[in-house]
């Protein structure tokens, strides 16, 4: 699938989800979360947030960035799983975790759709 289409899907689902989240409507969040889930599944996290390469002698900052991308991947999968299970509490908790990570992801040269999409999902 064209990466631009995936990016657009992510942004659309993200914007809707963020709006509902701010409004505090849990049901709507879950419904819109499902749409985000579909977009993420369509995009395939494997492709959308690839594991970056780790230099042979990485600096402490590179190691931290690398680990945070890996953690963000697991968060994304967990977010999808929680939304699928209608586990609103986990979704909310993960959104907070992910929003903290997303700020730092900007410094990681991912060059992928999800680095943009993730920020959009979180509305930041």
């Amino acid at each position: 699938m064209d990466l631009k289409i995936i990016g657009d899907q992510l942004k659309k689902a993200a914007a809707d989800e963020a709006a509902a989240f701010i409004a505090g409507h849990a049901d709507a969040v879950m419904k819109l979360g499902e749409n985000a889930v579909k977009a993420i599944l369509t995009a395939e996290v494997h492709q959308a947030l690839p594991i970056p390469s780790l230099p042979e002698h990485a600096t402490a900052i590179q190691l931290a960035d690398y680990q945070e991308v890996l953690t963000a991947r697991r968060n994304m999968f967990q977010l999808v799983a929680a939304a699928e299970k209608q586990d609103a509490a986990t979704v909310r908790s993960l959104k907070l975790d992910a929003s903290r990570a997303a700020g730092r992801l900007a410094s990681v040269a991912l060059g992928t759709v999800l680095s943009v999409g993730l920020k959009a999902v979180l509305g930041i």
Partner: protein, 166 residues
């Protein structure tokens, strides 16, 4: 890398079809999953307990290494939850595609985390014994998860062959 990716997707596909068909995993596979889930939880708990004391050897790297340790601990906790969820799925309580996608992806993530830890632990104030045990555990998890996916892929293939048979 591409081969690993294809294998993961093939494994994931098998899982999805397996559960989509309403087939249940065998007692042996359930036990394997239970063991994996237990090991993941144990690793997350033991790392989490030591994480606050894992300071950087070089004070100049303190902030970055704190970020690394915190994030690694969080990742291990996520993995433990994912495995527990999957175990629940396998018992037929709540099938979900997402939990299976997590399992397939976990192999690649665990392998990558192993590489990270290999480079990170020499920079941290942590005993060699713990560091090497943790390293071995991360490696073993990735191998066992991959093994489980292969078994389930094979089971699925046999079921498909049976369906297509005379």
């Amino acid at each position: 890398m591409a081969r690993t990716g294809s294998m993961l997707l093939a494994g994931l596909g098998a899982w999805l079809v397996l559960l989509g068909c309403g087939e249940k995993v065998s007692k042996e596979q359930l036990e394997q999953l239970g063991a994996l889930a237990g090991a993941a939880k144990e690793r997350a708990v033991s790392f989490g307990a030591l994480a606050p004391s894992m300071d950087a050897k070089d004070p100049a790297a303190a902030d970055a290494m704190r970020r690394y340790v915190t994030s690694h601990a969080e990742s291990l906790a996520r993995k433990a939850k994912a495995m527990a969820d999957l175990y629940e799925v396998a018992q037929g309580k709540k099938p979900g595609k997402a939990a299976l996608a997590q399992l397939a992806d976990d192999i690649a993530t665990s392998t990558a985390e192993t590489k990270g830890w290999e480079q990170a632990y020499p920079l941290l104030k942590v005993s060699d014994e713990f560091a090497l045990t943790h390293l071995a555990g991360l490696k073993r998890d990735a191998i066992q998860t991959e093994g489980l996916l292969k078994i389930l892929t094979e089971i699925m293939k046999r079921q498909e062959d049976k369906k297509d048979g005379p």
